[in-house]
Symmetry: C2
Subunit: 344 residues, 2 copies
């Protein structure tokens, strides 16, 4: 459908989009003429622009203003016109410098730092979903008795996660009893993803074990709880104030709604999860987003991995008028670096 655009129209559409992204001002025919070598008059451009408007790629805020890209216009730009001239040198350097400045050991630190880098390199708000524990596979479980009735449970996954939780036991278990339970569980659960460790599976194991050892109730509660807790995953934000620099957010009310959104972690999680796709950078423009609240924004998402296992999503959120080329480039680099940092 849209592909039927003449070369000239494409050219013009690109110019309008690029200019509007840069200046946030509606683009008039004169402006297009100026930033174009092909020697056409403004009148001709005007006609073409009127056509592009009819086709839905451009809109006029009001008669006698320049044109701005419609959502469709952005879409076409992203799909067909955008130059992903990887000026990698620039960005690459910028990111790799800040990313590797200090070797960061803790996963959380790496993520927080990535969010910062991402937001400052794009001048937008960045969202990074913390590693999704539940997608990892169970490797082993350990129990470290602390005091009489308290123990530390340690879960280790194939992605190198080490999750631990202190639990209170109703009854005291002897070390050998504990050992039995633990080795039984290790055997049964090995290799399952945390997602697969459902309540029903746990119940099944419980029945099985009960016959042999009676005291285990608590041990199971423990396991269940330490898993349940991971259901809500943290989302890390960077550069939330960047939206204040965007002229589309000069209205206090919009700001309020946006910041409000940022405070609702579960929602952010859903937004990220909905739009991400493994191995691809996804661009969702305006109403392409499920979530009502970001229908005037664009969300660009990518995914990151630990040991080749996709484990989380990173996103950049900003007005539809966003420097798509830059954002996509930056995100590519960042995800690469992130994968690298996390897998070591």
């Amino acid at each position: 459908m849209g592909t039927t655009l003449s070369e000239r129209k494409k050219q013009i559409l690109r110019t309008v989009v690029v200019s509007y992204i840069k200046t946030a001002e509606p683009v008039g025919s004169r402006t297009v003429v100026r930033s174009q070598r092909m020697g056409l008059s403004s009148a001709t451009i005007r006609n073409e622009m009127a056509d592009l408007e009819d086709m839905g790629y451009l809109v006029q805020p009001h008669t006698s203003a320049g044109r701005i890209p419609s959502q469709l216009g952005y879409r076409y730009y992203v799909d067909n016109l955008m130059a992903l001239d990887d000026m990698s040198g620039d960005i690459e350097r910028e990111i790799s410098i800040t990313m590797s400045r200090e070797k960061m050991r803790e996963i959380e630190q790496i993520i927080v730092h990535s969010a910062r880098v991402l937001s400052s390199a794009t001048n937008q708000t960045s969202l990074i979903m913390g590693p999704q524990f539940k997608k990892s596979a169970f490797r082993q479980m350990r129990i470290l008795p602390l005091e009489e009735k308290r123990s530390l449970v340690v879960l280790i996954t194939d992605t190198g996660f080490i999750k631990n939780k202190v639990i209170d036991l109703q009854q005291q278990l002897s070390p050998s009893e504990l050992q039995q339970v633990v080795s039984y569980l290790n055997q049964k659960l090995y290799g399952l993803t945390i997602d697969q460790v459902t309540t029903s599976l746990i119940n099944e194991l419980k029945r099985d074990l009960f016959r042999r050892l009676e005291i285990l109730e608590q041990a199971f509660i423990l396991l269940e709880e330490s898993l349940k807790e991971e259901k809500q995953i943290r989302v890390f934000l960077g550069g939330t104030t960047n939206i204040l620099n965007q002229p589309e957010f000069k209205d206090v009310d919009k700001i309020r709604r946006m910041l409000n959104l940022f405070e609702q972690e579960p929602l952010l999680f859903k937004i990220l999860e909905d739009s991400s796709s493994e191995d691809n950078i996804v661009v969702r423009i305006g109403t392409e987003n499920e979530c009502e609240d970001i229908r005037e924004c664009t969300l660009v998402t990518g995914t990151y991995k630990i040991h080749d296992k996709t484990i989380g999503t990173v996103g950049v959120l900003g007005p539809t008028r966003m420097d798509y080329g830059r954002v996509i480039n930056v995100m590519r680099r960042l995800v690469d670096h992130l994968n690298e940092s996390l897998s070591s």
Copy 2:
């Protein structure tokens, strides 16, 4: 000095403060007359108000506007006039309901939740400093070998904190070697606050131990690192968007500066630490605050404890025009509940 205010002036000052807190509009003499039983005319009130202005308790935004309280005025109000009529019933119920809705096990959860409650009950932004690990006393240390060269170090404090960290050892240590180190450390460190475990102390121990056991370098690095990491303590925010509801923040630029501040955790930490005082609720109005960025705000702080040990600070930040009575009441209740939740 200020105490020389006549009863009538106090009355008037109170009325002005209360009214301005409620409406955010400068208060004129007519308004004062209306909300006052004593049968005085507006002219009299005007004279009194002019006096109060001379004394520095009130200011006029411009001639021919009503008066608004100066910083000094607020100060006087808080110190002498404020009615702390604990309408505890109301607040108490509101807080205790939301605080105890579900028994929350993890400390972090409790804190995050408290921040929410605090902000929504006051309609301001709340800041809660995460528990200051370093003020706790060392109880014991454990090491759980995971794989060949990885171990999990567990630190337990007298306040019931359990802090753990995975570390990579350069060389493999035999269980008995580890055991020796650990028990030596436990003996030496028992009862010291984490603050007291300084680098120099560590070095001293290191020298001492070296004679007996050579491989310990890593074990110490480990200890040092797990402590160092705790130096930056998290600050949890609640209701950051609430400042947007305050008319004093209708200017986008102010909002920007404020939100910017919120993104700088170390600064927030400093702000909280500077102004808090053990066992007392502290009110810092305007320029009474050290920090430049909140010179137009009031910060109310309190502290919370675990097992009778002061371990962190909670704060409410808002414009100087803030409902001091309510905020202070709410904070009292909240701190009580927090103490209770954390000490169980």
